[in-house]
Structures are given as structure tokens and as C-alpha cells.
Symmetry: C2
Subunit: 171 residues, 2 copies
Amino acid sequence: MTPLSARALPVANHQEPLQRSVPRADRVPNKKIIRELNIKVTTQRLMILDVVRNGPSHFTAQDVFEAVAARHPEIGFATVYRFLRTLSEHKYVTEVRMGGMPARYEWAGKRHHDHLTCASCSKIVEFENTEIERLQEKVAKQFGFSLTGHVLELYGICPECRAKENAADRR
Amino acid sequence: MTPLSARALPVANHQEPLQRSVPRADRVPNKKIIRELNIKVTTQRLMILDVVRNGPSHFTAQDVFEAVAARHPEIGFATVYRFLRTLSEHKYVTEVRMGGMPARYEWAGKRHHDHLTCASCSKIVEFENTEIERLQEKVAKQFGFSLTGHVLELYGICPECRAKENAADRR
DNA sequence: AAGTTAATTGCGAATGACTTTCATTATCAG
DNA sequence: CTGATAATGAAAGTCATTCGCAATTAACTT
Ligand SMILES: [Mn+2]
Ligand SMILES: [Mn+2]
Ligand SMILES: [Zn+2]
Ligand SMILES: [Zn+2]
């Protein structure tokens, strides 16, 4: 695997247990994380954080709401949105809003990566490409900008969906 | 300018007249473009298309609405949205929806490019980087995807805003 | 442990960007 | 010119997200 090649990252869907590059962060108790934000440790915040950290990645606010509501039905949407925003502002989660669909979030305690999404079945592959990152810096510098962030989302058709399409066409 | 370097593209803001890579498309009358879509040639479509093609780039539906309404106050929002969608579906305009803000559109009769946006003053620089494009293809192929599109938006602080910040800090 | 109080919650209403509905109007093939 | 059909505009509807606010609660302070 050359430094130029993209590396697949474990995704919730096809994931097997394996050691992460940031194992420590994953052991920090939720309570501590909330305290570090200088806000009150409430049951709802603990529950939301639990879902955020231990549930599937690339979740929507709705996903979090439903997961929490399963055990704590009084939870309100506003609470979920408010806390997700706080987490996002403090870089604990990454928020991606695209294409007029609900925002998706993911716990940021993992290595930086971008997404390759199947336009047909919405499957998400995470990848990391240092060469692209480097070129982005270079572009920014070229225009005198200091780069503060980026959004790179690739869209395509995954092998499975392509196979299905072919089968359908052939018929 | 090496093949690795990004090329600045003319942007409405700081633009000087210069020959485009697709001059022909820019001469096609609006009427003809609409006819090619097999839809009726209406006054509102002609006016919208005029704004889309001759107004500033990276406009919102609201921008188009206001520009058209200036001369034709009966125009409705629905008409603007409907036609922008049609144009977008037929690749005459590119639609970019990001960060929970209104979608921005641009006439697609120009070379493909991505955007570098100032997080402070919202200035937009268009750039083109064939090396990044190539690497995107490579990533997709690596995962067996056929690439159908991508969104690459870089965020940073432009030189001017950086200067302002420094001045403010120093004081 | 009880009291104080400011942060937090959950509800419902409000927003904002579209989209849909539908009665009225305009286009254009014949 | 004329009728069939598409397009328009006003208003109502969606949908994700945010706001306002009275009731609740976490985290101090006695
Ligand atoms: Mn991810
Ligand atoms: Mn552009
Ligand atoms: Zn797929
Ligand atoms: Zn700026």
C-alpha cells in the first residue's frame, strides 16, 4: 500500500472488532467528556453521548433521538439537536450537511477521513488519502488562504449496485 | 504552472473579460436552450435563464427571484425553483447545497472546478486541480466504485481577512 | 441534608428553504 | 385561430432544525 493509495477505514456496517488509532479517547468516560465542556452532566447528555460513541457511525439527529427514546421516552428533539451542536462546536463530532438531506454526524475520535458514498444504496466507505490532503493545502496556499477545513465527498455506484444494474439491463 | 498546481478561474467578483473554454455555449440563445429541453418557452423561463447566464455566479434561488422580480414582479418562487431544478437535472447548472444554507447554483457552461471559500467574508475562489481529480478517480476505483460525482469545498481565511484579524489582535 | 439558583429540559410554536396543489393563464401544434 | 396541454403564481404543506419559555434539575452553598 503506497502512501498515495487510499486506505479503507473500518465502517460500522462491515466492521470487525479491531484496535483503533485512538484507543484512549474511546475509554474516557462520558461523564468526563461532558465535564470538560463546563456544562452540567445530565442523564440525557449521558445517554446521547453513549449513542453517539457506541452506536453506528454516520447517524442523523433522528437516529440519536430514536435510540435514546427507546430507553428514555421523555427525551426531546431540541435536547438532541442542542447537544449535538455543542459536541460539534467542540469538535467531538463532525457534522456533514449535504444535498438537502438531514445532517449526519460522526464521533470525531477517529482519524480524519473522507467519504465515498454509493448514490444508489447509500453505502458509505471511509477513506483517507494523504496526497489529496496535501494537494488541498497546496491549493489554499496558492491563493494565500490558510486552510481551516474541507468537505470531500465522492459519489459513485458501488460494485454490488453496479452488478444489480447490469443484471436488470441484460433482462 | 505545473500540472500539479491549481489554476485560478475567473470569478464574477474579480473578473476581467477573457476568452472562455466554452465560448460557443455562451452564444446559444436562451430560447434555443429551453427548446432543447422540450418544454415551453415562457417569458419567465427566458428571464430566469438570462439571470442565470449573465448575472453573477454562485447565486441562490433568492438572488434569481429578486433579479427577475425587478423587471417582472409577478414572478413566483415556485417558478424559479422549478426551472432551476430542471436546469440542474439537465446539467445546465450545477447545484451545491452545503452547511444548511440555501443552495447555490452556477451556470455549468464553464470548465469543471471546485471552490475555496473564505470562512470569514464568504469570498469564493474557483480552482481546478487535475491531480486531485485524478486521485479521486483512483480512490473510487480502489473500492470498486464507478465515480459519478464529487463535492470538494475548501474552507479557509483569505489573505485580506487574515490581515484584518492580525490588525485587530495587535490592537 | 436542605436550600438556592442558574443551567437544562421538553413542549409547542416558529423558521427557512423548498415543494406541492390547484385554479387560472399562456404556449404552440395543427 | 383554437383547443389540448403545459406552465404559472398564490397559498398551503413539508421537513429539518431552532426558539421561547415554564417547569425541572444539577451543582453549589449553607
Ligand atoms: Mn466517516
Ligand atoms: Mn464556481
Ligand atoms: Zn450501492
Ligand atoms: Zn475573507
